[in-house]
Amino acid sequence: MRHLLSAGDLSRDDANLILDTAEEMRSLADRPIKKLPALRGRTVVNLFFEDSTRTRISFEAAAKRLSADVINFSAKGSSVSKGESLKDTALTLQAMGADGVVCRHGSSGAPHLLATSGWLNGSVVNAGDGTHEHPTQALLDAFTMRRHLGSLDGRRITIVGDVLHSRVARSNVLLLSTLGAEVTVVAPPTLLPVDMTNWPCATSYDLDGSLAKSDAVMMLRVQRERMNDAFFPSAREYTRRYGLDVHRMAQLPDEAIVLHPGPMNRGMEISADVADSNRSVIVEQVTNGVAIRMAVLYLLLSGSTDSSTDTNPTEEPTA
């Protein structure tokens, strides 16, 4: 695979290869020199048309730990604010020789367009496009769950909140079902997509009924910036029916964990004492995010870009 555009493109073997590679990458954090030479001489461009803290920093740290050169691009302060198109921006990056482009965009499908248009030769990684997908977030969530729960086969995972606007939810549902987990999506009817028949998951409007049998609960951020309409009567009502507080958390099985992709609205979808409790793995998710992005960049960019060498996989790596 040359690009990572959707969690749905990953087979179970692909996903496990990324997770296993990330496991090796994570051990780097314990070393005195947190640097590997795998991507020396490669250039990674972080192309961010939308605001982001952890995803951009995470990709930047991942690329730098693999010794790649990193160029950060954000739409604010660039020629995009003068009206430059995505195509012209892509052609500029191509002319500068970008081996990998990490793209976040407010419009669903922008990374797909970059990957398939022929404007760029490099690998494209989707770092979140509109309300479509955010595959590296799903990978880091699966990685975090796997470290706590072991194999995800048959595990019951509940995703709660604003599914309608959430690229995190879509990528997670696709990836977790590929990995064999049973996913339940819980949200008010107004925050579920109209047609979910193609989603490989169960749906529910009742959070309390789902918690007792969940191995992991993922709370989604209520995305006010994407809500041009009234989706629920009031923030307080949402919190009362779909927010995770200590009383609801007590219904979870003993070893269950709580995830949140961040940034959190404390007091809205998750209460502060849940976010800071010992079941919460939210900070660990950020650490794991760097390892996952290192694994993705390594697998996409470290190999030969010349496809003719792909036909010679039998060479033996002896000394």
Partner: protein, 209 residues
């Protein structure tokens, strides 16, 4: 995601079946030869370093790890205590990393005591061009600063491309470049043996092993 990250054992088996068409692999070391060679190497490591005290064994995946475990067991049997033993993946330090499709990583496991001030004994199955060992030396440099690094290999087949030599050698095996040396270990291949075979003309387009 990674189109051609072929697991090593599968690759070696493929080579074996390919070479079997042209020439039957010849066994140069059998199970008891390997066992005796490893026992000797274990004793040589203890002799050279005056005991097991400063020694850390690091096997290079895949088969170097199995050999490191065996040497570690033999040292424990002689000294009455175990030596720290781990594995060191060198994939990301290889000089041909950008020339081939991305490879899956192997497991790196550095013993908890670290390697600073220790004598690291690298262990691999076959010493050939020396490029794997060069990569391993770079990898060690990122992990710590050992007092010394030594190298133990089961087979030294010659044809070095870098100024690297082994401190402990199970068997010096003069080979020609058209031959292929394969190490089988019970843990991975079901039996212990070192095999040598002529490479078929078809599979050696530029292959250097």
């Amino acid at each position: 995601m990674s189109p051609a990250s072929v697991p090593e054992p599968a690759a070696r088996e493929a080579e074996n079946s390919a070479s079997a068409v042209k020439a039957v692999p010849r066994t140069v070391l059998d199970a008891s030869d390997i066992s005796r060679a490893l026992t000797r190497i274990a004793h040589e490591i203890l002799e050279r370093n005056r005991g097991a005290d400063p020694v850390v064994l690091l096997g290079i995946p895949t088969r170097g790890v199995g050999l490191a475990t065996r040497i570690s067991e033999r040292i424990a049997a002689v000294e009455g205590r175990s030596v720290p033993t781990g594995s060191l993946d060198v994939t990301m330090y290889r000089d041909d990393i950008g020339l081939k499709p991305a490879r899956a990583l192997e497991h790196t496991d550095i013993p908890s005591g670290g390697i600073d001030g220790k004598v690291v004994v690298l262990i691999d199955d076959v010493l050939f061009s020396g490029r794997t060992i060069r990569a391993a030396l770079d990898a060690i440099g990122d992990i710590g600063r050992p007092k010394a690094v030594q190298l133990a290999v089961l087979v030294d087949r010659g044809h070095r491309e870098l100024p690297i030599r082994a401190d402990y050698v199970g068997k010096n095996l003069p080979t020609s470049l058209v031959e292929r040396v394969t190490v089988h270990l019970t843990e991975y291949d079901g039996a212990d043996a070192v095999l040598i075979a002529d490479k078929t003309v078809a599979d050696k387009t530029g292959a250097s092993a």
